[in-house]
Symmetry: D2
Subunit: 352 residues, 4 copies
């Protein structure tokens, strides 16, 4: 066991930033969070009260300059993900960046470009986009079984991200900068699709349709609250995606691989925990109400594994290239959703 | 295919009598219901309106005398089961009698005695107690797998009959003549226990405990609304029973066999049908609200198979001897429930 | 209670014909099967042995001419459905026709035309296409809850027909005349879609994609063994269909309605019966292996209700118009599957 | 937030000791493991390699003497639990002791006596027996719902501990010192029973029966591999326990509370994770293979909460008195198992 600990800085202390900060600070044995930055005063106050021994900055650049960091965890707003990532990359720091890299494919590509350039001088540098489901034990078990060919070739990939309905108007406001439901919700399913069907697999066509059923205000941002997509891959594979912001019962994220000799499902029966209740309403189980309630363990594992791959110079479990491709797919699906047109890729594949 | 149809009379047109009458009349291809009897005027009226071509009698004896019956289905009140059965037996008729034969072991035994005597002159006569679960496809699949040794020897048998709570006071009134919760509810579990562990298996001891939680009036009849029992069998097997009249969600009848190399459960997740609902209460399925909602198909199968075994002189699927033994076990459990004492059987077995 | 029984003839005694014959003959109290016809010698032999009192014909026309039928159940090969239906319609007989009416929209339409013309002289005549799932208790419970607005407006309809893999080559042969996977498998889902979203609802667009993963021979018939489709409806509703001939575990037919305030699923956890097994492979339930194992009860109900609506001059539960529309949708989906093009309907709706 | 960290020593580095050491060392933010002791050389070697900065002792007493500990976690063999606990108690240290305190009621009582005496001089001292299920999120949700009366009064408590079968002979050897299946397996269920029905509730009677089905060698230690028990409580409550060392599928620990207006189950459908597989064997989920796979999170929570109650002088979530009572109940059940006699408690209650 290598003894040193990784010196980590956290960028952003919003909802996800707080979680990453606590996970790296308290629950990641080999990481030391030494600094965090956020332009938000209340968030800084939270940091000072809850992150013992961590220096809190208002300015990301100042943190990078003053602290002797080895790695940065970027959990700020999406709009600055790429910029902050590139700055850290140029300093040779390891980077764990919340998804998505950007809602703009060119910007996302610029992070990859910066990383590939930096690798020439910092060959051990790790840059990874934090697709948390890849660290979930159930997805991993499914992936291992598929990969070892337990059920033969995968033929159909189906996946959905279904958020609990939020009647506060949050989604409508959020949609203005989110890049649309496919980049915001389905980006996880897209990442899983690339992971299960092959990060190098060629997408031949895609199309999507959607409606605004409960959040009519989304129309102004050219967005939808329910959408369906289908994709064709070279090599005889097809995929179906579903995303919604309207689930009444809770977070229902389901993924399914149908193969020649069997199918495997992850979370087909979403459940919050091991409790079941039988009463006049029938026999019921409770559902997780939000993403983190379902995936908290995966985030802790993500922190531990990112730390380990930095300290021990191992390959990160997610390639940055595939994360850029995920943005490309999400952007194309969103374009189809609004235009109503099927997109067929030239040269038989999605260019990224 | 033998062409003749079985000429059937129905005794009793109460809740179960109506069901048997319709099942034999309309849904049993090889049976002709030609007569029915009931002392109840409203029930006779129902019969005249709903049982086309069936002669309705007020008096059971008159029906037996006047009609050229081959078989009788006894679905009258428990108190007259044995008497009516014996009368039919003496006339050489086939008999399907609702459970239990009697709440009194001696009376139950007298039916068996009459049958065994009658067999000398009517060797093809069939007399069977209607334990409907034995005709349920799920119990049958479980029994076949156990019997063929798929999981090795069965070691632990667990079974429960759980009725939906009824706040009308019905159970309190009913308890005065029901013979107690073990003879009324658990008689099915006892029959299944004998079926799965062997009708000839020796019970070495049994005991039970119970409470009256929601129907305090049951105390007057020396009955309980929730009871637990354990039994020991010769040959290294044990059993646990649970019965309740207090289920909030519906009918939850569950049976489980734990064997050396696996376990098998019937109805472990009770469900009314294939519907599932996800809403603010969670993810739920509906439960059957009463026994017949769960076992309707089994009753139809019972009618068909009883008819077939009469017409084709096959052995009935349930031996009358084991049905008498079920009464013996139920009576002993009820005795232990009230006395608080464990009952150990002399000569290492329950006498029946 | 009307006393008369319906005089029924059965056309075709193949797999489904046998089932209909037995159901109407033995399990439908108000129907008398008096005749059956089939050009197949072995099937006629089966009829003579198993259908007591039923006259068996080699020729459909002869049966129609000689017997005093009131109703005909058409369960012959799809290619003659329409022709046989029209002949019976012209004689004023009630008709229950197996799905689909035809794989050709014009032919299907000709049945509807014949019926509408005949209604002028036989105003009580009933003609119904047998979409069995509409008679399944679970689909009915779902439909009632949706219709009474329990969960608000339905927004997303998802449904799949998933057949157990058959390695005998049957599907490849069958595909030559089946009209393709959408007309053969998904026709049930399409019918349910029209039932749940409204038989008069306007389809604005549809598209489908598919692959031949395990039955490469299907390519010759321009068919696929796995296909995905999405549809857009006027009024802000969308639908996703999936059909496969490759399921390893069994028949997995699932339907789901996602509404504003809840979702309802039918058969989300397919199961053969109430048995669960725990052994070294984990905790498992068994799946139905074919369509009839799942829907037998629905077929019996279908027989009873068709009979009742003929005898009592009630409206049939499925309109013939919607069954023609189902063919139109299936044909369009199949066209998209092969052409790769999204189909947008002129005048914002599917013409039928 | 209080800033100090708790200085912890670990006694024993066997299977559970290793887990506690890692949990306190790496995953408990407010604890510092500074020392560990074990008489086993291999275990010490493991500690030196894996517990960075922790001093490893061969002798428990020496650790207590030399190190400035505030708390001790006792995870050594059961035979020394009490002795080690009492030594730490006498030094005024906080103690988290693995279950059971002892297999001998008098010895268990002596720990409680020592603690109560020590409290006079160390009023903030915490001593807690580590019943991990009390820290499991699902049991907690069930307990909260029961406690707030969501389903009315609890009437029937049912619980089982079911271990995966182990054919290595381990259990037979282990049984020689384990105190028997009720003290070893069911002690968790007994603790839960006291927690759910009230730690002060009076047990009026208990009895148990059992068999040795797959580990005949257990007979020599007067033990069984399957056992069933029933218990009566004052105030109209009853309980049923089941324990087995023979489960083919995995760890199946289930608890159920049946109340007047509903029932609540924990882990009724045991599952390892969110994966489901559909293949030729049916539709299946995987089961946890051992206790820690199911309860790892609970152990981490236990470490955090024990630490917090020491640092902030809060009442521990489990009273030491109830843990002694659990030993009394387990010992009585084991006595009944072997004697075959029902035990009725004088003065209507179990003396402890």
């Amino acid at each position: 066991m290598v003894k040193t600990k990784l010196r980590v800085g956290i960028a952003g202390l919003g909802r996800m930033g707080k979680r990453h900060a606590v996970n790296f600070h308290e629950l990641t044995a080999r990481a030391n969070v030494i600094a965090a930055s956020t332009p938000d005063g209340e968030e800084r106050e939270w940091g000072q009260e809850n992150l013992e021994g961590v220096t809190i900055y208002a300015d990301y650049d100042e943190m990078l300059e003053r602290e002797d960091l080895e790695a940065v965890v970027i959990a700020s707003i999406t709009a600055v993900h790429a910029e902050q990532a590139i700055k850290a990359i140029k300093k040779g720091l390891h980077v764990l960046c919340e998804k998505p890299l950007s809602i703009d494919l060119d910007v996302a590509q610029s992070v990859l470009d910066a990383y590939e350039k930096s690798l020439k001088t910092h060959p051990n540098q790790k840059v990874m986009c934090g697709f948390s489901r890849r660290f979930d034990a159930s997805y991993r078990e499914a992936h291992e079984r598929i990969t070892r060919g337990e059920f033969g070739l995968p033929v159909v990939f189906r996946s959905q991200t279904a958020d609990l309905i939020d009647t506060s108007g949050f989604f409508v406001e959020y949609a203005k900068t989110s890049g649309g439901i496919f980049l915001d919700c389905s980006i996880h399913d897209i990442d899983l699709m690339l992971w299960f069907l092959g990060e190098d697999s060629n997408i031949r066509s895609l199309q999507s349709v959607g409606v605004t059923a409960v959040h009519p205000g989304l129309q102004e941002s050219n967005d939808r609250d329910n959408a369906l997509a289908t994709l064709e891959f070279a090599g005889g594979k097809i995929a179906a995606l579903y995303c919604t912001r309207m689930m009444a019962a809770g977070q229902e994220d389901i993924t399914e691989l149908i193969c020649e000799r069997g199918s495997i499902q992850v979370n087909f029966q979403p459940r919050k925990n091991h409790v079941e209740i039988h009463d006049a309403a029938g026999a019921r189980r409770l559902l997780p109400q939000h993403y983190y309630e379902r995936f908290r363990e995966a985030f802790i594992t993500e922190a531990a594994e990112f730390t380990e791959c930095c300290l021990e110079n191992k390959a990160p479990p997610i390639s940055l290239r595939s994360s850029v491709k995920a943005v490309a797919v999400g952007q194309a699906l969103q374009r189809s959703l609004i235009s109503g047109e099927k997109i067929v890729f030239e040269g038989q594949t999605l260019k990224n």
